[in-house]
């Protein structure tokens, strides 16, 4: 550890308070379009830290924290509050509920899971036909969402209605070096931005957007970027780590996207954004200078709020930085506490190195 990182880790330490906040955020329910619960937690956390807080027309929380120095850079940090989940669409005669997926969930992840329904978090289960009643042939086909039901018990009455949202019931836990939780995509981002607001820098006007509806089309970030009109945009998210073995042990897995234990994932390109190389360079150089591990996310598909931020108004130099996590968009993800710590450190270090000249002039390679 270099002296600089030592200083930093004293300041921005992921300790029990930070993990408790992340736990509260992960256990909350905020399916795209109904981000109420996470918004309440965010408002509670940021109100004392900000110069200005507002909730905009779409439900984004927009927080401004101005620096005190000269030549400040207006940096927008965005983290989406919403998560993938389900919406109840029909109550059937047998008191079981049909549902539709909200966001990108592989339906093979759904059967046999515990869920929480509605704002009261009523427990329910997505059942599956007993194996005894299936044929080998039947088990070769996946179970379709349309034939799954949520069961909340025989006395559910009118307590659940079509339109109510549901999420996986997974509870947050720390396991050795790891976190097991639902919705780490993107409560990691939300918690990271709250920590950054607690540690402001004089050279930066922090324009922090806790956005809505990322999982269904980056909608919140688009209007938030317009409102903030920033000099630089940084989307903070969680990206998949596909660092699992190939089924054929002879084959190397060269499409891992990111790997756990290798630090924050710096984006160069995804489906929605070609990152501004000046900012990519700033991240790389800062990481080396401060001795913070980082990895370049393998260029390719996927997308974050940066996809709309960089195209806002006349254009915003933008990048995405993600905490790697395995099994995103399923009942439970696994990520490393150290990777989160290093993500927080790197973003903070980059902000401290940020100055108008870093993005002055024309975009260059």
């Amino acid at each position: 550890m270099t002296k600089k990182t030592e200083e930093l880790s004293q300041k921005l330490h992921i300790g029990s308070d930070q993990l408790e906040l992340l736990e509260k955020l992960c256990n909350a329910t905020a399916v795209s379009g109904d981000e109420h619960e996470v918004r309440q937690i965010v408002m509670e956390e940021v109100k004392a830290l900000a110069d200005d807080v507002k909730v905009d027309a779409l439900g984004n929380v927009l927080v401004t924290k101005r620096g005190s120095g000269e030549n400040r850079v207006r940096v927008m940090l965005a983290a989406h509050m919403d998560e993938i989940g389900m919406m109840i669409v029909k109550k059937h005669d047998d008191d079981l509920f049909q549902f539709e997926i909200v966001g990108g969930i592989d339906e093979r992840q759904l059967p046999g899971k515990a869920v929480l329904v509605g704002r009261d978090h009523l427990p329910g289960v997505i059942g599956a036909k007993p194996i005894h009643m299936t044929t080998a042939k039947e088990r070769e086909n996946k179970i379709e969402t349309s034939s799954m039901r949520i069961d909340l018990g025989p006395d559910i009455g009118e307590k659940v209605k079509p339109g109510d949202r549901a999420t996986f019931a997974t509870r947050f836990r720390v396991v050795g070096p790891s976190i097991f939780a639902k919705a780490l995509d993107n409560r990691f981002g939300v918690a990271t931005l709250i920590e950054l607001l607690k540690n402001p820098l004089p050279n930066i006007d922090l324009l922090v957007a806790f956005t809505v509806q990322e999982e269904v089309g980056l909608r919140g970030a688009q209007v938030a970027a317009y409102t903030f009109n920033p000099d630089v945009g940084i989307a903070v998210d969680s990206t998949p780590a596909y660092d699992l073995p190939h089924w054929d042990e002879e084959e190397e897995n060269f499409q891992y996207n990111t790997k756990l234990d290798e630090g924050p994932a710096v984006y160069v390109m995804d489906r929605a954004t070609i990152a501004d190389q000046r900012i990519v360079r700033l991240f790389r150089e800062t990481a080396v200078e401060w001795g913070i591990p980082y990895q370049i996310r393998q260029p390719g598909g996927g997308g974050t709020d940066a996809g709309v931020i960089h195209k806002s108004r006349s254009g915003v130099p933008s990048i995405s930085i993600s905490v790697p996590s395995r099994y995103a968009h399923t009942a439970a993800s696994i990520a490393r506490i150290d990777d989160w710590q290093n993500t927080l450190n790197l973003i903070h270090a980059v902000l401290s190195n940020m100055s108008p000249d870093k993005i002055a002039g024309e975009r260059r390679d």
């Binding site: 046999g112 899971k113 007993p130 299936t134 996946k142 039901r149 050795g176 099994y327």
Partner: protein, 352 residues
Amino acid sequence: MNDLQNLLKEMLSVSGLSGFEAPIRKIVEKAWEPLTDEISVSKIGSLHGLKRGKPSDPRKKVMISAHMDAIGMMVTHIQDGFLHVTEVGGIDHRILPGQPVVVHGREELPGLVVQPPSHLLPESVGSGPVVMKYLLVDVGLRPDDVSEKVRIGDVVSYDQVPLDLTGEAMAGHTLDNRVSVAATTICLEELQSRSHDWDVWAVASAQEEETLGGALTSPFDIKPDIAIIVDVCFAKSEGATDWRNLPFGEGVGLGYGPNIHPALYDMFEKKAKELEIPFNRDLMPKMSGTDAMAVQIVAEGIPCAVLGIPLRYMHTPVETVSLKDIRRTGRLMAEFIADLKPDTLEQIGWEA
């Protein structure tokens, strides 16, 4: 929370896969110890509790058999810190991705069953279900740590936390067949204040899900005159609506078919009607899929009755049961047993 919920949750808080029943056996022993006169463990790992009947010599014996073992998985291979597993008992691989589990290594390790991304699977899998061979378990530890703590042959149990649903329903793993152990416990509790002529042997049997090993051996030791097998049966739900599925929460399933002695069936039906305990006839035209398959043919043969507690989503970690049906089953067994007279057996015939 009531006593039954507490008891069930305690029984669901431990594992006890087929052949590895020690953790659940300890819990059941604790529950039965104050309710029985003698308690012992069979050579194969079943728990036997004896509650003696009124003094007379010799006394007839009724055995209640409720299997306590659970389905789960076992580690077959360790690759880069990830575990490959095979099933213990019948598991539909389609419900596994994303399930929380405990790996019983050198210490208990929480883990997740995970479905690798499609580009790391054979192309033939496509968007179809991933068979168990290609699923992995991730315990959140680094590879060196995993090799140190996990060995091939370690068992893996479900770790879904039980959920209280509306209408006195509960969801969780291994309700098959801990609900029947709970019903047997209720029966023993009821019998505390009742006089009964027969000796009652409560058995929490081992290995039902794989070998029926418990059910084949306990009756050999006990030599009961009759046996009541209590297990779960299928309850109606989405995709499970045919004649094999009984209504949920609407009464005990009374097994009917070749594994069951018809005179015992008639006695149970009569008793349920007399006490106005709701029941449904559970048709088992070929075999019952329960311990009765084994108990029936031990030694010179044992007359069996089969009681079923209707359960939804059997063999998933979100099996769902009505607590009412558990209580009804426990009470029906107790009433049946309290009614057994020294000469009841002589009245049981084939050509009634």
